[in-house]
Symmetry: C2
Subunit: 219 residues, 2 copies
DNA sequence: TCCATTATGGACTGTGGCGTCCATAACCAT
DNA sequence: ATGGTTATGGACGCCACAGTCCATAATGGA
């Protein structure tokens, strides 16, 4: 039940899978994404993939495990995408950051169905009662924040962002803005205002040489 | 069925309600808030209130209508709370804004159960497929944004915030940051980092007399 | 006291979903 | 061909839930 294929078989050889695991995961992912965890039924996945329930449960264990697996790959993919967009030489780090913020806002604004990000959706729906989801979402956000901070440090080294600013704090703020844009988008805010939020955020980033850095940090 | 009490009765007088409608709404609100819309059953509400299903349906119509009614009052309450905190004389407008941001972050950070805001939770769970919820959440955010913008304009008049900044855009950004902090909180980010996001955001507000206003807005 | 009207609460129905079970099928070394 | 092993797929059991129904209760006017 654990190993799908029986190597080192003592006497017999098992029947092989007839379906493409990745394809099934894609279909299931689509369902979870558009209809949420509670709104997606295993029967619907079975129907959409043409699989029988037995195969589904045999291959993935159950609804929760299936979702977790999809959630995992989504988290990795999205963090990888951020890394692809932001990691690079110091020269251009600032431009990459701006482009990333704009692209994120544009993507959310263009998402007519308000599906949003599966990470956010899954966290909002399940995180409260599902520690597995909480752990994964927090780790992913942590990774994204780290990448953002790294890019910000690069921009600081290159002289585009104020050296006095705390890169980690700034990164967390940028992350909050990105998640906030997503939340506003899901709440139905118009596309152009979402994009304007991105522009405003960019315009407030502490450019090098100017004042208003991180000084009177409350606490 | 519409009017609960029969005034101008033609022949008879109806039996009066035996329960406190507000109390039932409070209990139901608690359930929806902690367990979500899909996760809350009418049976659970009936059990928690001691009511029979007949009374519940007779008084509120159904699950969706009940939720909408709770959602409505929550939206009004939260927007009223923002108004209470932010509306006031120009002198102090900036301080009120900072206090509000800090208070929001602190509140989210202190929310051990990560219940978050019913507005955000409802929107995230239902907005995509429920136009009633979409409309209400968008209107509420709109109202909050307007209040924020008004306060920002007051702070500009008083000379605390840069007059050159677009108050509406700044207000939307602040709103995005607030919603973003909430999203990060629900995703499991630590309390002190959430509060540091608030401080960073405050420190980046365009203070009067300093540069870095809304100038090279992309596009 | 009787009546019209509405509230009450629990039984009941219909639907849908998760997970299991099992007869059958495909596989390959012997 | 046989046999041990795993895949397949659909029927099935079980449970939870939204909403309805109805016998009964409470109320004040006639």
């Amino acid at each position: 039940m654990d190993r799908p294929v029986n190597y080192g078989y003592p006497g017999g050889v098992a029947r092989p899978r007839e379906f493409d695991e990745e394809a099934v995961l894609d279909v299931a992912s689509e369902q979870f994404w558009t209809k949420g965890y509670a709104g997606t039924s295993m029967d619907a996945i079975a129907a959409a993939t043409g699989l029988g329930k037995g195969s589904l449960y045999g291959a993935f264990g159950g609804k929760h495990q299936l979702f977790l697996r999809i959630f995992d790959t989504y988290c990795v993919r999205i963090a990888d995408a951020v890394a692809d967009g932001l990691i690079g030489p110091d020269d251009g780090a600032y431009a990459r950051l701006c482009a990333h913020i704009r692209a994120a806002a544009a993507g959310i604004a263009a998402d007519q169905l308000h599906r949003g990000c599966l990470l956010a959706k899954g966290a909002a729906e399940l995180s409260e009662h599902d520690p597995d989801v909480t752990v994964r979402s927090r780790r992913t956000l942590e990774r994204i924040a780290t990448i953002l901070a790294e890019d910000i440090r690069a921009a600081q080294r290159h002289g585009d962002l104020d050296q006095a600013a705390d890169a980690d704090q700034l990164a967390t703020l940028v992350l909050a803005v990105l998640r906030g844009i997503e939340a506003l988008g899901k709440a139905g805010m118009e596309a152009d205002r979402l994009e304007s939020v991105a522009e405003t955020a960019i315009s407030l980033l502490p450019r090098a040489g100017k004042a208003s850095g991180t000084d009177s940090g409350g606490r």
